[in-house]
Symmetry: none
DNA sequence: TAATCAGGTCACGAGGTCAA
DNA sequence: TTGACCTCGTGACCTGATTA
């Protein structure tokens, strides 16, 4: 799949963190996310255009762009991309191209119907058309559910969120010639998670939220959305076609984007994959899970804005306040806000941990700096969370049907690990720890870290019935759920259905349907590390730990490293003349070694700690899912 | 990689700002770029010859030389150099050496067939052989596409541009013993962007333009080129071999340069990597994307001249006027010209934007000075832009055949990310964003900053099929594209392929072979910004081709890597005294070997399951998708 | 087995520093 | 002012993990 980096336009190396990006932007995002302190404010009011050449010129804007295009730590997924994913990507591209073409023809386009996206953003900024959006979403409802996150989440919501974060308007966004805007949706479609799994990031349209003015905000909004979604549950693929029209509304990004006309080479998406029309996706996202996330997004947006210039400060403030109010998850955020204004120490610590070296340079300032960083991070996380967020799948406390789902998922997704995981997470999480935590402690999860985003795997829609079922499930869950967020997630999740499920489900439709939903998984990773505060820090931190290792790896690495070291050493060593060399050499040599070791450790640790953590949580469930999944499923 | 500073001839410390340079010239350029005011006019009409000894004697000429060899702030790239880059550099060197040898034997060579390069230059000066070049390219077609920018962009175009800027003739340039001329190409190969990505600076051959007197000039030229390329789309790797012969024509730099004899340690480049012959690259660029860039280059050249003495004022004038005319991209340039004579404010603003930091520092002097500086800077930027610039690869709207390509690519390149990327990028790029942006908003981008140069990432070519596809795509795109440049880029771009593939492919040789090539990738990034129409485009487009050889490539790579390693070590190690090392060791490269081996080994993927990612599996669909993703799509 | 990506590794170069 | 050195961010490549 030929894709360009949604951030800088370079050829994409793959789908990273929820968007097609080049290696550089992938790495940048990965680094930056864990080390916000390293990002200094934009010198240009956050208006830098990021492209290949200048991508390294402004970290703040680069990061912003990353967020705008839907990147999030939680958005990632492993494994091969499903064909669907690929297909969707292609479709999106086509659309984008078409859009671009359209745009080229008439810029006004953006302002026009496309404005949906823009509107959304603006709405956030200013007014909210949430109701309308919600309604629209409702229309799309379940359809969206099918491929919720892929498009919606990735594209719309994210974009929106990001936009919010950035304080960009749809207009602004649109203004940016960057397809990013459009791209997001494009990229995002699959984005975040995986092909099959789409992240269920909460991210409703922040705008919507705002617009909706989340009552308890997010939750309220989300609920509304969810309900809307749920209402639409069983839509047949066909609706999807309808979706497109709606998209603009529900899917700001898409709408705003100069979407292109339908791809010529492909038949109507619905024909291809009834359920997968990109537009639908976008809708879904926006519609499905937005609420809680939206709120968060809003918060995040504010934070982001804060990060990038003060230009949007006002917006931020607006949001920030809202966040607490809006989202039920406020608790999650709670700490962070504080951090923003005060709790530097913790944050700082976290950050420090992350940055082993010196982040200092960034902001040599005193506590103030730290505070800023924290704030930034906070915002960022918020944004990210909002984007991806998925309340732990809270998983769910899976309602009764969950069992079926599980089984189903197990059956269905034996392959899809992610699915398993998600399921697991849900189950395990929900049932065991996390979920409860989530449910009760959605906030908790959030706190942990980035949270795990719910990832919904994208899978081809099953039968319309399935969709319907999914929708239905979503509804059920939603109702069942304590958290609006969760619900939203669920709703989204409904979308989820994994292909696996669908497949299997097809066998026994009724069960399968629900099962499908189940399959869709949302992973919640609980980095936990830092907890929330540092957010990712946690990641870093957590990683650190270590545990060790694996001999083999080490050996390999060592060999490699040695080579590297040698080189480095040589280079530096030689210079005797300068003492520097020595230093360097040491650094290099030893440093490398250390690094290597550290890395190794990290790996271990990570695997252990991070991954392990998640895994652990999931393990039991997972195993069941994996090995038994099928069996169970079948049984079911 | 042993390289000499293209500016002063000292051993190069690395690839800085787009060219291999020593620390001194690196620092000088870095300082000077931000402080043009510190540079006084040359006392010698800008005719100072820059070498190790006298490099500090005349800042103006030193800076000019820097520009001539392709240095630009935007040209820099970060991070590790890609193996391909390294390889290509080696190849170029070899070629250069060979060329040099040839030249030694008979100077007439330049004029002659080999003259391609030289001719190009001269042609620029006087006559244009674009058609011929195009034809040649056409021959090479896709092959060229494979590594379009790497060589062409870096080497030829820049040199030419620079020459133009400087008002130097090819002859003059050649006169300079500095390998710089040739070097540029060398350095530039990867230059700008990344290893894999080479910048697709627009720089077609300015000369050609001039000579050819570009009808719409550049565009015309580029179009011609593109078409030619496109026509050749599906070429098999073999053709590449053919390329070399052509190189001279297409690749002025090589031809003109006193290239060295073939590298002893490596087999003929074409043998090694049929598709990658440096010459081809150069061709691509020059042929493919030159036009717009050339125009820009002309403008830039004028500006430069303005900067450096009045000696070439006439030349500048010549070009300046032309630029608008010549290039369709004129729009991009539009502002600049104005700036030259008046609108400093705008320019300044633009600069400021680009330079987040302080462009200010540039001219602390009074308004007058400031004005001068601005002017200078303006020119400088113009030059740089022209150099790098590249329109986004458009990519491509994949035509029908694309399906095959995709499928193929999918099959072939499963692994190769880069290859994929390229392909993707082409498609996506062209289709989506940047290109559009560029196309429509090329000017816009340009304004923003320097513009992005088109970077072509160099990656191993995928399978021939892919290449072909790419080529086809390129063609299509080209046709589709507004910019000729883009087309060229496309042509170039066909290559993709990833190492992975190669590994795997090895299993099935046929596939593998192609795959291997694929691996080698050339990315073309489409900066698109400005559009540069020309430039980038090309590059990106270029991506290229190639497919080819696997084993050889690998071997080559390893050797290269080794060399790299060695060089690095050597250079630095020795340090002190000299740089001599350079020469030496290239060959070595155990590290490289290791890597290669490792890569090969990668094949296995196992999976434990740490992370839990969610996914839903779409089994059935997926399968189809995998192999046929594209097909499916298309089918759909 | 193949395809993908998160992460880690570390080659690299932009920039900064500072002796000369 | 120069340029050797250093620092540190970047990004190409790899590994390992995860899904197809």
């Amino acid at each position: 799949m030929n894709q360009t980096c949604k951030v800088c336009g370079e050829p994409a190396a793959g789908f990273h963190f929820g968007a097609f990006t080049c290696e550089g932007c992938k790495s940048f995002f990965g680094r930056s996310y864990n080390n916000l302190s390293s990002i200094s404010d934009c010198k240009n009011n956050g208006e830098c255009i990021i492209n290949k050449k200048n991508r390294t010129a402004c970290k703040a804007c680069r990061l912003k762009k990353c967020l705008m295009v839907g990147m999030s730590k939680s958005g990632s997924r492993y494994g091969r991309r499903s064909n669907w994913f690929k297909i969707h990507c292609l479709l999106q591209e086509q659309q984008q191209q078409a859009a671009a073409a359209m745009a080229a023809h008439h810029n006004s386009q953006q302002a026009g119907g496309g404005g949906g996206g823009a509107n959304g953003v603006k709405a956030m900024t200013g007014v909210p058309p949430p109701a309308a959006a919600a309604a629209a979403l409702g229309m799309l409802g379940h359809a969206a559910g099918a491929y919720p996150s892929l498009y919606a989440a990735a594209a719309g919501p994210r974009s929106k969120e990001e936009l919010m974060m950035l304080g960009l308007d749809a207009g602004d966004y649109a203004a940016l010639k960057h397809p990013a805007v459009a791209s997001p949706s494009v990229s995002s479609p699959d984005s975040h998670n995986s092909d099959s799994s789409v992240e269920v990031s909460v991210r409703g349209n922040p705008l919507l939220h705002l617009g909706a003015k989340t009552p308890t905000s997010g939750s309220g909004g989300s609920d509304g959305i969810q309900s809307a979604v749920s209402t639409v549950p069983g839509r047949p693929p066909q609706l999807r076609k309808d979706m497109p029209p709606f998209l603009p509304l529900s899917f700001p990004g898409l709408g705003s984007m100069p979407v292109m006309p339908p791809p010529a080479f492909l038949p109507p998406s619905h024909l291809l994959f009834p359920g997968y029309h990109p537009a639908l996706y976008s809708h879904h996202q926006g519609l499905l899970k937005p609420t809680p996330e939206q709120q968060q997004a809003a918060v995040a947006a504010a934070a982001v804005q804060h990060l990038f210039n003060s230009s949007n400060a006002s917006a931020v403030q607006r949001f920030a306040p809202q966040a607490p109010i809006l989202s039920p998850f406020t608790a999650q955020l709670k700490e962070e806000p504080t951090a923003q204004h005060s709790p530097k120490s913790d944050v700082a610590t976290a950050y420090n941990n992350n940055n082993n070296n010196n982040n200092n340079h960034i902001i040599p300032n005193g506590s103030k700096v730290a505070a800023d960083e924290l704030t930034k991070r906070f915002y960022l996380d918020a944004v990210l969370k909002s984007q991806q967020h998925s309340p732990p799948p809270l998983a769910t406390k899976l309602p009764p049907h969950s069992k079926q789902d599980y089984s189903i998922s197990a059956l269905v997704t034996p392959n899809s690990e992610s699915g398993r995981e998600r399921v697991k997470s849900r189950q395990s999480n929900g049932e065991l720890d996390e979920e409860d935590g989530d449910g009760s402690s959605a906030a908790k999860v959030a706190e942990d870290e980035e949270e795990e985003d719910l990832v919904v795997s994208m899978t081809p829609p099953r039968s319309p019935a399935q969709l319907t079922q999914a929708a239905a499930v979503g509804e059920e869950r939603t109702e069942a759920q304590d958290n609006p967020i969760d619900l939203s997630m669920k709703a989204t999740g409904s979308c989820v259905s994994s292909s696996t499920l669908s497949r299997k489900s097809s066998a026994h439709d009724s069960d399968s349907n629900e099962a499908r939903l189940d399959e869709e998984e949302l992973e919640v990773s609980a980095d936990g590390e830092k907890g929330a505060d540092a957010q990712r820090d946690g990641d870093g931190d957590g990683e650190v730990e270590e545990e060790e290792d694996n001999s083999t790896t080490e050996t390999v690495k060592t060999s490699i490293e040695q080579c590297n070291n040698n080189n480095n050493n040589n280079n530096k060593n030689n210079n005797s003349s300068t003492s520097d060399n020595e230093a360097t050499s040491d650094q290099v040599g030893l440093g490398l070694v250390k690094r290597k070791l550290d890395e190794l450790h990290r790996e271990v640790c990570e695997s252990n700690s991070k991954r392990v953590r998640t895994e652990v949580a999931l393990d039991a469930p997972v195993k069941m899912a994996n090995s038994n999944a099928l069996d169970l499923t079948t049984k079911v």
